[in-house]
């Protein structure tokens, strides 16, 4: 699977459409495995969606004594296997992103599996399907990144732990002020389709990949 998720908190409007839709994925049994939090409601309306980042070396799987958390060939970290899960909650405590949750009723750790039953059939995950703003997007790197003005980052540092993830976080650029001289940078081209627009410029893949490789390092 070449597609992955791109999380852009800038765009999040806090509607929790993703939270509601996650329950609808037929294998999730009505439980939502995505979180949307206000950063600090007293100061701002900003909100942040959290999905599983699908680490390349998942901490949850590393700390699991029963080897219940598996990663598939597409790099998707799955929920714990029911026959193996020991209810120990090591994964819940260890995940640096705070993603896995322990479902007391089902005696099982459950977490975002990138809607594997949907994505394996070529459908988008529920959250990325419904997200009104594109704060959660699902697609190929070269399809999504060139359309955005944000930097994709998939390297995270937690103290001494360095984590690389399949899912990208989109960080804002350094622009700090409003340019009142109009929009010198405006690229909306009237009458051109997206495909035609792409053909008019030089190959963006090279430049994007160069930039993003650097921006992945803190």
């Amino acid at each position: 699977m070449q597609e992955t998720m791109f999380i852009d908190p800038q765009r999040c409007i806090g509607c929790r459409s993703c939270v509601a839709a996650c329950r609808e994925c037929s294998t999730h049994k009505g439980y939502s495995m995505i979180f949307v939090d206000h950063i600090d409601r007293s100061e701002t309306t900003a909100t942040m969606p959290t999905v599983c980042m699908h680490c390349t070396e998942p901490t949850c799987a590393l700390v699991c004594p029963a080897d219940a958390i598996k990663m598939n060939e597409d790099g998707v970290v799955m929920s714990a296997l029911k026959p193996r899960c020991l209810d120990c909650r090591n994964c819940v405590n260890a995940c640096p992103f705070g993603v896995p949750k322990y479902n007391t009723a089902m005696h099982l750790q459950m977490k975002c599996d990138m809607c594997y039953d949907r994505t394996s059939e070529g459908l988008k995950p529920m959250c990325a399907s419904v997200c009104p703003t594109g704060a959660i997007s699902f697609g190929k790197y070269e399809q999504i990144v060139p359309l955005r003005r944000t930097k994709p980052v998939n390297a995270h540092v937690f103290g001494n732990q360095h984590v690389e993830t399949k899912v990208y976080l989109m960080l804002p650029t350094d622009e700090t002020e409003v340019n009142i001289d109009g929009c010198g940078v405006f690229e909306g081209r009237i009458g051109l389709t997206g495909e035609q627009q792409a053909q008019t410029g030089e190959s963006w893949i090279d430049t994007q990949e160069e930039q993003s490789d650097k921006s992945n390092e803190f």
Partner: protein, 744 residues
């Protein structure tokens, strides 16, 4: 007669109760019999979605990726919308109120009672003694039928619709300036606009999926200027936020245009060739320098200057507005002052250059086109125009002398109910006890009626006051068209049969008319037959639907009206030839002076109260306050207070405080946030009874559009030393305080 005596019993029987799972619980092994492509029943984006049907029950949804407006996206209301259809609170059979209790009745008994009472009232007090209150969440077929039902069925002049609380200021402003009432551009133009002015519209919470287009524009490098007294999620994401004092929109708009005139950023050619009355307008605009505008609106002059330059210098730009500027006694003036900017810069009628109101209700556009408005006939024709009256009477086969005169707006209709002029009442698709201003007066109006009939699929706060409640259908149980905010006419499809003995709204209306001896005007057996008559009735009007068919809608993913002939593709963008719909084909400027709201803060009531919405609830909440997920996210209303104000009043976050206005008072938990102005407080309005924000709001009306001033009145906050915590603080996952919960 119509009092609510046994509220506890009504709540126990009819809810709101919370329901939060598909029929039969969550299951991974469903066998889906049918996937029905249709649209969300809520706001005017009218997102496409597929309903999953198992054994004649809607058990879930699947994103409809192929519908171009939303490409599968939905807000949380849309995601959970299907949970309404098999909700345990659904009304399943007709109810007649006897001795204060609602009792099950047969359709025959209920309809015969309605007919005999209506005939008795009309014989005693005259034809106009019956009032009809309709709504814009209905399909266009039904809105057309309601107008015809009032005029040709009951022969009463008194009909109006809940769009009166929603889009009328924009409609009146559009008609005055352009001679037509429609958003001028399709959503697809938004990403092509360098600068967007978003005035009084919290798109993030009220039109979430519209944000798809806003962010596409942003990805193209575009800018947003957001004008709102609160730093909403939309304002936070925008580039410039003009945080004005509620009700001072004219000053800000005039101030921005003043900057553009000074810097010569206006389009003289367009003004000369395509508009009238610029000179008079220019004279007024020249008075509103950024400093003057700043003094009135309390927005820094520098920001007004920046906004004027940003929009003025941009090659393309669009202005969008919503209820924030429209819900005022100066609502029409607010709209016209923004249209002045559009006209002065000539940014209209081209890709990326445009203007439009963001319609509120699902069919807010379609609902204001075909004659359920007090003074309107189908096709945006006027009750006051002799030719229009003749055309419609010919289509209906109604003798012209039988067509009543124009009626009055809904707020005035409720006044007439209180004064005793209107004795009988028929309402469908609205909930005045939540949504009309000054709830206490609305209650008196309903209690003063001799006979009150309500059609709904859930028992609303207003249904409780009815003598007869008839069970209608949800959107998934009937078919018909709606027009979304861009005037794209789309088709709602039927997924399942109505539950119990519930009947489609159009059948109910036709059946009452038939039993009143007016059946020859209501010989309809399906929505398609109503639509076919509507097509003819709208022909030649501004909103011409003649060339639209159900098949064309399916084929083209919607048809933008006007569509005068069967081979016409529809009209996505208006004014492309720079011709407008006044007789001389020119648009009209209006010199607008700033006038303060009807009630401004004073020593006794020092704060400006403004009301609005949250993303989890829809309008009066009759549909959404029953869905577990949505109620969990926002279980009760709250009052947003700035920390400075809270400190002065010694109020803590989450503490319940009393909010008092000249009309009434209510107790709400405080949400102390820096995102609101210190002189302003905000309460969301989706709840009823003692949680209603509208206990406080001012029923003062705009003189032209008759829209009430929901967005500005004077209020004060009193500390009540309540120890009760807000529901969210207690982490109680339940219904609001006035609402009882039944176990799942």
């Amino acid at each position: 007669m119509s009092k609510v005596e046994n509220l506890d019993r009504i709540l126990e029987q009819f809810g709101p109760h919370l329901h939060d799972a598909p029929d039969g619980g969550w299951a991974a092994d469903r066998v889906i019999d049918n996937v029905v492509p249709t649209h969300c029943p809520y706001c005017a984006v009218q997102c496409g979605l597929n309903l999953l049907v198992e054994k004649n029950k809607v058990v879930g949804f699947e994103p409809r990726y192929d519908f171009p407006v939303n490409e599968g996206r939905l807000c949380p209301k849309g995601v959970t919308a299907y949970l309404q259809t098999h909700h345990p609170d659904r009304l399943l059979y007709p109810l007649i109120k006897r001795n204060g209790y609602f009792e099950r009745a047969s359709w025959d008994d209920a309809l015969d009672l309605i007919v005999s009472k209506f005939q008795e009232i009309q014989a005693k007090y005259g034809k106009d003694a019956i009032g009809i209150y309709s709504g814009s969440s209905l399909t266009t077929e039904k809105t057309y039928l309601m107008g015809k039902f009032a005029r040709a069925g009951l022969g009463t002049r008194y009909i109006d619709y809940n769009g009166r609380l929603c889009m009328v200021s924009a409609a009146a402003g559009n008609n005055k300036a352009f001679g037509i009432d429609r958003a001028a551009n399709p959503f697809a133009d938004i990403p092509l606009a360098e600068v967007l002015i978003i005035a009084g519209a919290n798109c993030a919470e009220t039109f979430p999926v519209l944000n798809k287009y806003l962010w596409e524009q942003r990805d193209n490098g575009g800018r947003w200027i957001v004008i709102d007294p609160r730093e909403t999620a939309t304002a936070r994401q925008g580039d410039l936020h003009l945080q004005l004092k509620p009700g001072t929109d004219v000053a800000v708009a005039n101030g921005m245009l003043n900057v553009m005139v000074r810097e010569n950023l206006i389009d003289e050619d367009f003004i000369a060739n395509s508009t009238n009355d610029w000179e008079a307008t220019r004279t007024v605009i020249e008075k509103y320098t950024p400093d003057v505008a700043s003094q009135i609106s309390d927005v820094p002059a520098k920001k007004i200057e920046q906004a004027g330059l940003l929009y003025g210098r941009a090659k393309t730009g669009m202005i969008m507005h919503a209820r924030g500027i429209e819900h005022h006694t100066n609502g029409v003036n607010n709209v016209l002052s923004y249209i002045n900017i559009v006209l002065a810069t000539g940014k209209i009628g081209e890709p990326g250059k445009g203007y439009g109101t963001i319609t509120g209700q699902g069919n807010g556009q379609g609902g204001r086109e075909h004659g359920q408005k007090a003074d309107q006939l189908p096709g945006q024709r006027s009750m006051l125009n002799a030719e229009h009256r003749k055309y419609v009477c010919d289509v209906w086969g109604l003798p012209e002398e039988e067509l009543p005169e124009a009626g009055v707006s809904v707020v005035e209709m409720f006044d007439k109910m209180r004064e005793g002029e209107i004795k009988g009442f028929f309402s469908l698709c609205n909930n005045g006890m939540v949504s009309l201003p000054d709830t206490n007066k609305i209650r008196q109006s309903l209690e003063n009626l001799e006979f009150n009939v309500n059609v709904d699929f859930f028992m609303s706060e207003s249904s409780r006051y009815a003598d007869v409640v008839l069970p209608g259908t949800t959107w998934a149980e009937d078919e018909g068209v709606t027009a979304n905010s861009e005037a794209r006419v789309i088709k709602i499809n039927k997924a399942v049969d109505p539950p119990g003995e519930a009947k489609t709204d159009w059948w109910i209306v036709c059946e009452i008319a038939r039993r009143m001896g007016r059946g020859k005007y209501f010989n309809f057996n399906s929505p398609r037959e109503i639509f076919d008559e509507l097509r003819v009735a709208s022909k030649g009007g501004n909103a011409d639907y003649y060339g639209i068919t159900y098949e064309k809608i399916e084929k083209q993913n919607g048809v933008f009206w006007m569509c005068p002939t069967l081979d016409h593709p529809g009209t996505p963008r208006l004014f492309e030839d720079k011709k407008f719909y006044h007789p001389d084909k020119k648009a009209k400027f209006h010199p607008i002076e700033y006038k303060p709201p009807a009630e401004v803060p004073d020593a006794e009531y020092p704060l400006a109260l403004t009301t609005g919405r949250v993303v989890y609830q829809y309008l009066s909440g009759n549909q959404t306050r029953r869905i577990g997920f949505l109620v969990e996210q926002c279980p009760e209303p709250y009052v947003e207070i700035h920390p400075e104000t809270a400190l002065a009043l010694k109020i803590n976050d989450g503490e319940r405080v009393k909010v008092v206005s000249r009309r009434g008072e209510g107790v709400f938990p405080a949400l102390i946030v820096r995102t609101i102005r210190p002189d302003t407080i905000f309460i969301p309005y989706h709840w009823g009874e003692q949680l209603a924000a509208n206990q406080l709001t001012n029923p003062a009306l705009d003189p032209i559009s008759k829209i009430p001033e929901y967005k500005a009145c004077a209020a004060r906050i009193e500390k009540i030393h309540s120890r009760e915590l807000p529901i969210l603080g207690r982490n109680r996952k339940g219904a609001s305080l006035s609402e009882v919960r039944r176990g799942k």
